[in-house]
């Protein structure tokens, strides 16, 4: 059987599974549509949260970033997992007790202000839309490589699949589909990693293999890798190259950004009890950690395999001739994500650290997808990785679309425009807004604005500087009032956006940038790390403004009292 047929069968089988689940779990009420009726077991919810959180970025991009960045990129590993500690202790249990459907709803009620709710809706829409664009183009890339169709065709297939199960099933359908998608993606991620780790170190657990001896040299794997890199003139893998300040702020931005992402927070509204919200965050991290503990090994080992493919006789000998390279180089060269430019015309692939002599340009995003081919694993593993990448992208896209549709139908239409809307019509509005969001995401996925990578920084910066501080102050302080929250969110948001625009260009028009991340405005603080500063500004402004104005009314203070204790939490309700 050829690779193409095998890909088709494996991907087709997983899609059939997702459809079957959506039909089985069809949502009937708004409670089932928005919050799965509050009846999802914490372990299943944890798995679904894991699939929701781990997007194409985690599955496809992260190990590649680590492979080429080494120690400095630990910020991603710590940042994207440490946020769950904050969620479990500072947000999830209290928001579950609050017992409504959406994040803007809490902000609106706690700060007794339609303006605050509206600001939260705007933040949510920007965050979720920028994210979903990335997922849709990820789907397009994965399809075009593995199903050998045009990226646009792949995108339409992906959009159709998401549309069918998200619109039909609502949160309940999405949650159970995501459980299945988690299983597919984690198997697809770990199996090649186990093979490769066994190959290079003899240790079947990649996270342990990373710190074991390489079978080729008998020395530790990382020592061997550092040796190869230094012989070729590349920077050391294990040393720190970024400044400590920037690495600290970047890690913190990713952590509080994670805890402030609306589509992740809303997952904790779907568990039956407050105690389940706490343990569910733990289970989510268990399932996320399986991938995140493996990713650093995948990164280091892929870098090593890449070098040994190019220099089969050792880095001191001549590199491989273009004519002799394995098939995967040809396959990826067709996609344009891997480029070979024979600058000195000797027919050999010279892979070096110098711009003048280096002839190989590898896009970081292909590392995970090409990994099984680089390591010469069997073809069913390659098909599995294709299905896994699609599962990661589709599950996150569905969760984001859910967050977008509930913000529009529940917070905007029911909350502000037409409070008298019937449950049936609200459900219809939710499905229509989801369909519109899929349309917009597909259009933008086909015509990516060219700044997808930068806008991710904006999404995290926004979540870190606006939503996380507002939620945390709403729970832990009774004194922060509506003026404080509104001015705090505006201040955090504006400074973060301005800082990002100063470095990436106003509205991402690159020519209007006054600074660059290579030489940032404030010391070594890159625009991607500014979310932490934005959050501090938000906290500070909210505190000062609140202490200068009236304290919140008694019923709001009682609301804060009541969300702090688990007793009396019913199922999530819209009223």
């Amino acid at each position: 059987m050829d690779q193409f047929t095998l890909n088709l069968i494996v991907v087709g089988a997983t899609f059939a599974l997702y459809f079957g689940i959506a039909i089985w779990a069809r949502a009937g009420s708004t409670a089932e549509f928005y919050a799965a009726g509050g009846g999802v077991h914490p372990i299943a919810n944890g798995m679904a949260t894991g699939a929701d959180w781990m997007s194409a970025a985690s599955f496809i991009s992260m190990a590649g970033i680590i492979a080429f960045g080494g120690y400095d990129t630990s910020a991603y590993l710590m940042g994207w997992t440490g946020g769950y500690v904050l969620l479990a202790m500072l947000l999830a249990p209290y928001l579950r007790k609050f017992g409504k459907f959406t994040v803007p709803e809490f902000i609106g009620d706690r700060f007794y202000s339609g303006t605050a709710r509206f600001i939260a809706v705007v933040c949510l829409l920007i965050i979720s839309l920028t994210y979903v664009i990335g997922q849709m183009s990820g789907v397009g890339v994965a399809f075009s490589r593995f199903l050998e169709v045009k990226a646009s065709t792949g995108l339409f297939i992906g959009a159709g699949v998401v549309f069918a199960y998200a619109v039909l099933g609502g949160m309940k359908g999405i949650t159970y589909t995501q459980v299945a998608q988690y299983v597919v993606l984690i198997i697809a991620y770990t199996i090649p990693a186990i093979f490769i780790s066994l190959n290079l170190t003899g240790n079947p657990i990649p996270g342990l293999g990373l710190f074991s001896n390489a079978t080729s040299t008998g020395e530790p794997l990382l020592t061997t890798l550092n040796g190869l890199l230094s012989d070729l003139g590349f920077a050391s893998y294990t040393e720190q190259h970024d400044t400590t300040l920037n690495m600290f702020l970047f890690t913190m931005s990713l952590m509080i950004g994670t805890a402030g992402l609306p589509h992740v927070i809303v997952r904790f509204f779907t568990v039956p009890k407050v105690a389940d919200a706490r343990s569910s965050a733990g289970w989510a991290l268990v399932f996320i950690a399986l991938l995140y503990l493996t990713a650093p090994a995948v990164g280091a080992m892929a870098r090593m395999n890449l070098i040994t493919t190019i220099y089969p006789n050792g880095v001191k000998e001549a590199p491989v001739a273009r004519a002799d390279v394995p098939d995967w180089v040809d396959n990826w060269e067709k996609t344009g994500l891997l480029k070979f430019d024979d600058k000195n015309g000797d027919g050999l692939i010279n892979y070096t650290s110098s711009k003048e002599t280096n002839e190989l340009d590898v896009n970081k995003d292909i590392i995970v997808l090409a990994n099984p081919e680089i390591a010469q694993l069997p073809s069913w593993v390659i098909a599995l990785v294709a299905a896994g990448g699609l599962a990661a992208a589709l599950s996150t896209a569905a969760g984001l679309l859910m967050a977008i549709s509930s913000a529009v139908s529940h917070d905007l239409i029911k909350g502000q425009l037409n409070p008298a809307i019937s449950e049936k019509n609200e459900l219809m509005a939710a499905r229509v807004s989801m369909a519109v969001a899929i349309g917009v995401a597909t259009y933008l996925g086909l015509n990516p604005p060219g700044f997808a990578a930068q806008t991710v920084a904006l999404a995290f910066g926004l979540a870190a500087s606006s939503i996380f501080p507002a939620l945390m102050m709403g729970i832990f302080s009774k004194r922060i009032n509506s003026q404080g929250a509104i001015w705090g969110m505006m201040a955090g948001l504006t400074t973060t956006i301005v800082y990002i625009f100063l470095h990436k260009g106003w509205f991402f028009v690159a020519t209007t940038a006054s600074y660059s991340d290579a030489d940032p405005l404030l010391g070594s603080i890159k625009s991607t790390s500014f979310g932490t500063i934005g959050a501090i500004i938000n906290f500070g402004v909210a505190y000062v403004v609140s202490s200068m104005s009236k304290e919140p009314p008694a019923d709001v203070q009682e609301l804060v009292e009541s969300i702090r204790i688990p007793k009396g939490a019913g199922a999530a309700t819209g009223h």
Binding site: Y71, S74, L77, M78, T81, G82, Y84, V85, A88, M89, L90, P93, G207, L210, F211, S212, E219, P220, L221, L222, T223, T224, N226, T238, Q240, T244, M247, F248, T251, M252, K273, V274, A275, R278, S279, A281, G282, L285, V286, A289, Y292, L293, P296, E561, S562, R564, I565, P566, K567, G568, A569
Partner: protein, 85 residues
């Protein structure tokens, strides 16, 4: 709803638990993984040092233990203060 004094004691105990947990959270990630890495450089592990291990493996394992320990502790506090569901 539980009476005010009890829920106040409950909330104080919760805050205390969160503070202790977040100190551990900070030390094991930002501390060992970034700020204190130079100090831990003498402790070698698999071709690099302990700080690298904490940054890429250890911190995540500590996060896991922290969340489950917090969930267990809070279940106990919920019962002690009669505020469980």
């Amino acid at each position: 709803m539980a009476d005010k004094s009890s829920s106040n004691a409950y909330w104080k105990a919760n805050i205390r638990t969160i503070q202790i947990s977040l100190v551990i959270w900070f030390v094991c990630s930002f501390g060992f993984g970034i700020l204190l890495r130079p100090m831990l450089a003498g402790i070698k592990i698999g071709g690099t040092d302990l700080g690298f291990w904490f940054a890429q493996q250890g911190s995540i394992l500590v996060f896991l233990v922290l969340i489950f320990a917090y969930a267990a502790k809070m279940n106990k506090l919920d019962k002690e203060h009669g505020v469980e569901e």
